[in-house]
């Protein structure tokens, strides 16, 4: 098992290097001049623009620029600076913390609500409550995050405070500790909850039809034990796969939620940096995201072995 993990981690190295090069090239290929973008609607003073271009190596060929960047990262642990001379490592440290908090909040909500509802629906298959849950998840899937975000912010953030005077769900920012993440976490979890509910339901319904469940029931095990120990555990593999992959999505794809709730997170930073063509920032963030995907996948694979003892890694 240990060797398997090490092998997987070694395999990740070329993936990471490849990703940095790819992203570097893509940002390079974006149209427009990043220095001009700093000056908004005004044409920058040509002399000033030239000094800045020189300073950020923008006049050098692409591969040389990439070498400056990657050698800094590899040999000095220096992720470079953005166009305001703020170190990328400083930018990333703060923002990944916020996004991680948000993603974990969302993931916990997804797991608890999604699995809970799915279990409930699977056990009441075909009944009115099952149909209602399915209809509700369909609704959740079809309403965009933008709408749930704004509506919940207005109702639970603004209106609730105006009525009660108490700041239960903060409207924006990360000033109220973990409470700041409740509303955005829920908005972000919405889609995942819907998918996970349906996935849990289908997977469990499938498993409960299997022969070993009939055997377990025939052995005289309690219903609770049959469903929990034999049914749910076997049905868990697709759900764990989904949650693992979703962690990556939640980390990098929360742009809209982060913007609505003014969370200084990584999705938002990525969006801004692509807009400003800040190569070092974009590459840095994407590399860390790739790393998170790789690690999350590795953890998911490990979990398979825990959930299903027949799976072994050499």
């Amino acid at each position: 098992m240990g060797r398997y993990v090490i092998r997987r981690l070694i395999q990740a190295i070329p993936v990471l290097l490849g990703a940095t090069l790819l992203i570097f090239v893509i940002v390079f290929a974006l149209p427009g001049d990043p220095i001009a973008a700093l000056f908004g609607d005004k044409r920058p003073d040509p002399a000033v623009a030239e000094v800045l271009r020189e300073q950020y190596h923008l006049n050098d060929p692409l591969l040389l620029q990439y070498w400056y960047y990657i050698s800094g990262v590899l040999f000095r642990g220096d992720f470079g600076v953005n166009f305001a001379d703020v170190p990328v490592s400083q930018l990333m440290a703060g923002k990944f913390q916020v996004t991680l908090n948000l993603a974990v909040t969302a993931l916990v909500m997804e797991a608890v609500i999604g699995v809970g509802l799915g279990l409930f629906a699977a056990l009441r298959r075909g009944k009115a409550s099952d149909t209602m849950i399915l209809a509700a998840t369909l609704l959740l899937i079809s309403v965009p995050t933008l709408v749930t975000g704004f509506v919940l912010q207005l109702v639970l953030g603004v209106k609730l405070k105006q009525w009660t005077g108490a700041d239960i769900f903060p409207v924006a920012g990360v000033f109220a500790g973990w409470r700041s993440y409740l509303l955005p976490g829920f908005v972000l979890a919405g889609l995942g909850v819907a998918y996970l509910t349906r996935l849990t339901r289908t997977s469990l319904v499938e498993t409960l039809r299997a022969d070993f469940i009939r055997t377990a029931t025939a052995k005289g095990l309690s219903r609770r034990r049959v469903i929990g120990r034999h049914g749910l555990r076997n049905a868990l593999i697709p759900m764990v796969t989904y949650l693992g992959a979703d962690l990556g999505n939640l980390m990098g794809g929360a742009v809209i939620t982060e913007t609505i709730f003014n969370l200084p997170g990584i999705g938002n930073q990525l969006f801004q940096s692509v807009y400003l063509r800040e190569q070092p920032v974009v590459v840095g963030i994407v590399t860390v995201l790739v790393l998170i995907y790789i690690l999350a996948n590795l953890v998911v694979d490990m979990l398979y072995a825990v959930l299903d003892p027949r799976i072994r890694y050499e």
Binding site: G40, V48, V171, N262, F271
Partner: protein, 545 residues
């Protein structure tokens, strides 16, 4: 120039632009009051400052707002929009060429050391020096010796200091300009002209990163702790005890809260988590009037929106009658009321109403007159197809489409709006001769003088180095502006500027479409919120309710 709103808030707002008119409505009934031992700060919305907080490198609105609280400018502006001395005791000249600036005694840096004339000279020389690549360098272009420190692209500076700056004594600075400029005093209120303390500079002669995170100023507020850009969501300040100017009556703590979307900030204002929001989103305006009542403010803003004409690139537009016909075919009133929900006003002069020298209704051809427009356009044989370029990242699509519809309907021609990714893209395409249609253009002032609507946009000298993107050139116009610059009496200067303005109105090198308005709101916790001519909050006037 402050055409750049912080890039962050522009991008964030564009991202959420899909959700037009999602918020607003409903009456607000106050909300809870925060209790607690320590003082609750006055909280103001900003977008993330684009650069570190160095005055000489801050030419966008958000960083300027913060720096305006930390620094005291040489001049402020009075109710008649005239410059009045603030950190300066007196600013005098006899010929508009040599200016003597005497500093008001008693000003100290936030570390306690006195402010001297040397601090001004040092900062200005630093800003102008080419290799420092400060975004505000062009502000010093009129100072004698600027060309030695800033010779232009590809050339090496021959001096480190401008010879036009002379420290006479600790409290006196003498500035010699390369040519007389009557509006120089008005310029001095801008961010670029703040001084810098000696401690701002590192051993390499550059402003340190540390200073950019916690600038030491000589103004009303000092920063409580360094602002870590990208990590911190607030900038915390408190009143500087030894500040000798006007101070707020009943509060001492100020907090800037960084937002990426103005919609979100508006929701926070309604929930009383924010006290001042000075860029209310257009989608919220209708609701804001009802929800905020007399806490909603609508004041003239000194910016102008135009349709630019590429005179230099496209001879089709050479006949002024064609430009006049296009101008008369635009229904400015309807566009400002519907597309902009009243956050803009129809333009009727090249000089904005917020600035001295504006004359209401001066531009005849800015009045909507479709019948006359069509007649004029046909007799002048205007082009049968028109293109309207705009940058797609700034919320311009809607009004450009509206103008296109006006032109189609009223002139009976083909009009196609053409999006560019960024404004710079339009200029590049014009230069590369890939595009030669009309284009959207906006202008915010650098300093509140009528001259600022003339020289930088329409002067012949601004084709190379300024913002004269259309390439308009008129000797008579240049001469009148120069006469205004040389005047020693402000009233006389104004007369010449207005005559130059008359030429623009007659020739319409650009077509003014709208004047911006400042739409801002405040919470129930503060009162007496006012913005100055540079759109910065007058902190000393604010009272806590």
């Amino acid at each position: 120039m402050r055409v750049t709103k912080g890039a962050q808030i522009v991008a964030g707002t564009a991202l959420l632009a899909l959700a037009v008119a999602a918020c607003g409505g409903g009456a607000s009934d106050g909300g809870g009051t925060a209790a607690g031992g320590s003082e609750t700060p006055v909280r103001m919305e900003i977008g993330e400052p684009q650069e570190l907080l160095v005055p000489q490198n801050t030419t966008e609105t958000e960083g300027s707002e913060v720096l305006a609280a930390v620094f005291s400018p040489l001049v402020g502006y009075d109710e008649n929009k005239q410059p009045v001395e603030e950190a300066a005791e007196s600013i005098t000249t006899s010929d508009s060429k040599v200016w003597t600036i005497k500093l008001k005694p008693g000003y100290t840096w936030h570390d306690g050391t006195p402010v001297t004339a040397e601090d001004y000279k040092r900062a200005w020389d630093f800003a102008a020096y080419q290799d420092n690549a400060m975004s505000s360098s062009y502000f010093f272009g009129r100072v004698d010796g600027y060309n030695d420190v800033h010779p232009g692209e590809g050339k090496t500076p021959t001096a480190k200091e401008m010879k036009g700056l002379k420290v006479v004594d600790d409290n006196t600075l003498e500035v010699t300009l390369s040519a007389p400029f009557s509006q120089f005093k008005t310029m001095l209120g801008y961010t670029a002209f703040y001084p810098l303390p000696k401690s701002a500079f590192g051993p390499d002669g550059k402003v340190t990163q540390e200073y950019g995170e916690k600038p030491i100023g000589q103004g009303l507020f000092k920063l409580d702790k360094p602002y870590k850009k990208g990590t911190d969501q607030t900038i915390e300040l408190s009143v500087y005890d030894k500040f000798t100017g006007a101070k707020p009556k009943n509060w001492t703590k100020l907090q800037f809260k960084v937002y990426t979307s103005s919609e979100t900030a508006y929701n926070d204002l309604q929930a009383e988590n924010l006290d001042i929001h000075d860029s209310l989103p257009a989608s919220a305006i209708a609701g804001a009037k009802a929800a905020l009542g007399d806490r909603y403010h609508d004041e003239p803003d000194a910016s102008v929106g135009y349709i630019g004409v590429p005179l230099k690139y496209n001879p089709e537009f050479n006949n002024p009658d064609i430009r006049k016909a296009i101008s008369m075919a635009i229904d400015r009133k309807t566009i400002t009321e519907t597309v902009f929900s009243g956050t803009r006003a129809p333009a009727d002069d090249f000089i904005n109403p917020a600035i001295p020298g504006y004359r209401q209704g001066a531009c005849d051809a800015c009045t909507y007159n479709p019948a006359e427009a069509k007649k004029l356009y046909e007799s002048a044989k205007g082009p049968k197809t028109l293109e309207l370029g705009y940058n797609a990242d700034g919320g311009h699509k809607e009004w450009i489409e509206a103008v296109a519809n006006n032109l189609r309907a009223n002139l009976g021609i083909e009009v196609s709006p053409k999006p560019f990714e960024k404004f710079q893209g339009i200029l590049d395409a014009l230069d590369a001769k890939e595009y030669k249609g009309l284009f959207r253009m906006g202008w915010s002032i650098d300093y509140p003088s009528p001259e600022n609507y003339l020289t930088p946009i329409f002067g012949t000298g601004a084709i190379e180095t300024g913002s004269n993107y259309g390439g308009y050139s008129n000797k008579e116009f240049d001469a009148l502006v120069a006469k205004g610059d040389q005047a020693t009496d402000p009233a006389e200067g104004l007369k010449f500027y207005q005559q130059a303005d008359d030429i623009l109105i007659k020739e319409l090198p650009y077509i003014p479409v709208y004047f911006y308005r400042s739409n801002f709101g405040n919470s129930t916790k503060v009162k007496n919120v006012k913005l100055n001519l540079l759109n910065q909050v007058e902190w000393a006037d604010i009272e806590k309710a």
